[in-house]
Symmetry: C2
Subunit: 298 residues, 2 copies
């Protein structure tokens, strides 16, 4: 049973409503006990989607991935997909933010021995987001490489030790992000997927040992309508010699990668295929919002 | 300034006192806000020592390692070593448990963007511990191997995704623990170090890409008094063909490894050098308690 009594208080004070276990609660008051296995051992999974004009985009895909990640870490979600949609709908209405991110976290729970998972704790946090505009697309990003593969890479665990740690190196190198690679092959960014456009116009992205992003999935669908698409291993050499390189992520959509370890990619400007895919993605998003906005209307 | 007012309440209700940031607090009431980077991204460090007869063992070594781990993750502890000792002394007196473990956790703090570390949160939790007796030493343990190296292995981060995850595999294989290896070389257990005694009586332990355990350090000191000691790479082959194998840990001291992937080690019984080192370690511990117990007397 969901507890709604806090909602009116929160609206009165204009604080954001979060959801913890079975209760809506003001985010600033939401806590977990210190024996939770996320605090003790960094053990938990999460997922992250966004709304545009009050419409959750590709929600089924994100929730399916959330359940898959939870199963990999053997954590049992306490709500069904249907219940989650109801809770999320309620947060969209109550927090009243058109463009927002939603973060679902399922932790290892209150562990007696600080090691064995217990009944999970579950959190939903909503935050306003602003997506990059055209100027960020044109500017593109500069990246560095780092040899690393995420643990249990196909699950979206909360383990970002390496990603958080590497922020300092990214900053020192005056880069915008870091791309992981292993055994000579490119994998993923800490929070985004990578795509390569070959000189003969194929759209390629690593197939294994990466988190399968939802934006990645949609971009693959769109690319297949016009280009030859390959999901396979991509070497560092192929990456650096690509015609175009871009990243995909929930909060960035598609951003061109214009420099890798100070090697310029293509002619140092966003590529044609990258631009086409962003346009197609924006159309897909607009169509989805037009088709489903009334479901979440206030 | 430390806040002591909760102590009397807690003693009255016989609950354990924890320490969070700058306050002593009943452990059952101690929480962190959900934006903490441990919950969001598994980002934090910890350390773990124990008391025997109210005496913290090798406390300086553990606190030094805690500060080193924090520095690696660029987290600034909010208390000096001297202040920590005062807080720990107070917990020993108030919780009044002779043999206990202490867990210090320093997290990435309340992050605005769920990624960038902020001012850390700091936790100390105390729990009663019972160390393995002679019967556990005689029985020894059975282990399996798993290819893995911890991220930032020389720091004691809270990232135990792999260790917690592998508990199921350990159980399925009817083993007691799992030993990590990489590139053909043995590294460490999720929570213990490994030692090998060669057939010509050398005491050997991996030198690199492992957490330098405090029990490991003390056992190396003791071993040096009588045996040839080597800190160097140890291959899986050398491990499986060793005369003796044992683990060292804060809560287990020294435990013989008698079976690895169903290969019996030595004659399948605890080895002579392993037994000698445990005896020497117990003596060291007793001497330390005798020398320092009065410092923590109630």
């Amino acid at each position: 049973m969901l507890v709604y009594f806090l909602l009116n208080i929160s609206v009165a004070y204009s604080t954001m409503i979060a959801f913890v276990n079975n209760q809506f609660i003001e985010e600033s008051k939401a806590t977990l006990g210190i024996s939770d296995l996320s605090i003790q051992r960094g053990y938990g999974v999460f997922d992250f989607f966004r709304t545009s004009n009050f419409t959750p985009l590709f929600l089924d895909d994100y929730l399916d991935r959330f359940f898959t990640s939870a199963a990999t870490l053997r954590l049992q979600p306490m709500h069904s997909k249907k219940e989650l949609k109801k809770i999320i709908g309620e947060m969209i209405r109550q927090n009243n933010i058109a463009d927002a991110s939603f973060r679902l976290i399922l932790t290892g729970g209150y562990s007696d021995d600080s090691y064995q998972p217990a009944s999970p704790n579950f959190i939903i946090i909503q935050q306003a987001v602003q997506l990059p505009g055209n100027e960020k697309f044109i500017k593109g990003i500069k990246i560095i490489l780092h040899e690393y593969m995420r643990d249990l890479p196909t699950a979206k665990s909360i383990n970002y030790l390496m990603g958080v740690y590497l922020q300092e190196k990214v900053k020192q190198k005056e880069a915008d992000d870091v791309l992981y690679h292993k055994d000579g092959c490119v994998l993923e960014f800490p929070r985004s997927n990578v795509f390569v456009v070959t000189k003969d116009g194929k759209v390629v992205t690593p197939a294994e040992n990466v988190l399968k992003g939802i934006t990645r999935k949609k971009v693959l669908e769109l690319a297949r309508q016009k280009y030859t698409v390959e999901e396979r291993a991509v070497t560092i050499d192929e990456l650096k010699n690509a015609a175009e390189v871009f990243l995909t992520s929930t909060t960035k959509r598609i951003i061109p990668v214009l420099s890798i370890d100070n090697t310029e990619i293509g002619d140092g400007k966003p590529g044609e295929i990258t631009a086409f895919l962003l346009e197609a993605f924006l159309k897909m998003e607009a169509n989805l919002i037009a088709a489903t906005a009334e479901k979440y209307a206030l």
